[in-house]
Symmetry: C2
Subunit: 210 residues, 2 copies
């Protein structure tokens, strides 16, 4: 089986290209080139072509790429031509922010279950989804067939929430708690730590002075 490994950096850039193409398409642009895309997103044209080359040939030599076609191809590659069901655990400010984040719905991510431990929140509706007790996590996740779990609870509860999500059939986890989670290798895990980004900024600011 031919499975040449794709750099994660390539996947992240594909995601960025897809937003560029979405915008270009909305503006009525029919054809684009690796040069256009490169300029629009701040990478080199060679990089753009190389990234596409991992997945096939989407352009026409001498002409460029059809915006709509290329966009469709990339969405397919990223798995965004399916609907993905997502379970959200934790309805603090961050959890709330995620429920109202338009980018998710637009790209086929459907939050189908929401859990919290706060009695005051249980039963309230967020959008169309009622907040369930965290005691019902397993049941709720199974009922809506969530493949993805988002952890937005305090650090000290994150590991047990992860364990329970996995036990309930979730295959991928997006973790916002600042802890290193232990998950089986077949589970996809990504960590988002908001403070890390600020720290990279301050490191670089420090460098400038030096």
């Amino acid at each position: 089986m031919k499975t040449l490994k794709i750099p994660e950096a390539t996947i992240i850039r594909l995601s960025v290209y897809s937003r560029f193409l979405y915008t270009a398409d909305k503006r009525g642009i029919i054809t684009t080139s690796s040069g256009d895309i490169a300029e629009g997103v701040g990478v080199s044209p060679a990089q753009v072509r190389k990234d596409f080359a991992y997945f096939g040939e989407f352009g026409t030599r001498g002409v460029g790429y059809n915006v709509k076609d290329l966009h469709r191809h990339i969405l397919k590659i990223l798995g965004l031509s399916n609907i993905w069901y997502v379970a959200l655990v934790g309805v603090g400010n961050l959890g709330l922010a995620l429920t109202s984040y338009k980018g998710f719905r637009e790209r086929g991510f459907h939050i189908c279950a929401i859990f919290d431990s706060d009695q005051g929140k249980i039963g309230t509706k967020i959008g169309e989804v009622a907040v369930q007790s965290i005691d019902e996590l397993e049941k709720g996740v199974r009922e809506c067939h969530a493949q993805i779990g988002i952890i937005a609870v305090p650090a000290e509860f994150a590991q047990q929430v992860a364990d329970r999500l996995i036990a309930s059939g979730v295959k991928a986890i997006l973790n916002f708690a600042p802890v290193v989670l232990n998950v089986p290798p077949e589970i996809e895990l990504r960590n988002v730590d908001l403070a890390v980004h600020l720290e990279v900024l301050t490191f670089n600011l420090g460098m400038q002075k030096a």
Copy 2:
């Protein structure tokens, strides 16, 4: 001038190590090793030592590292021994989530000015800081000497907010809007796109099946 370039991956890992050390210190652990740290955060011991080596010698051969000392060194490297003043623009759910994010305050990030365009929000207090009209952005940013700006406004306003932050003296920007911002090269810019993370997950889930 000896300025060997530090990989950004190294900075991100330093940030992760620092949290490990913070926890170890709170637990009363005095001494640690590259092996301990590596296990705790999921990298190789060689990687840990290499990362430190960019900045100096912090350990004792045959013994390991003093937890408190090492932690202090890393905070210093990351620029976290200063207080950083931060201006937040946009008080939607995400902006709110950021104001209440404990990790920021703990690590020396002090949100000193908050702006929004919604009349209903202007004047209300979030924590100790009153929301100001976005019309007063320049004045407000200057008054509190914010070095860092956080953009949490809709994509279509992000560029102009960036321009105004920079004009007001901000040196670094953390951008949550899903657009490519144009900023002068001396301005530090990091983009956080929440949807990208989910897309990397779904790409990898797709790969598993294939």
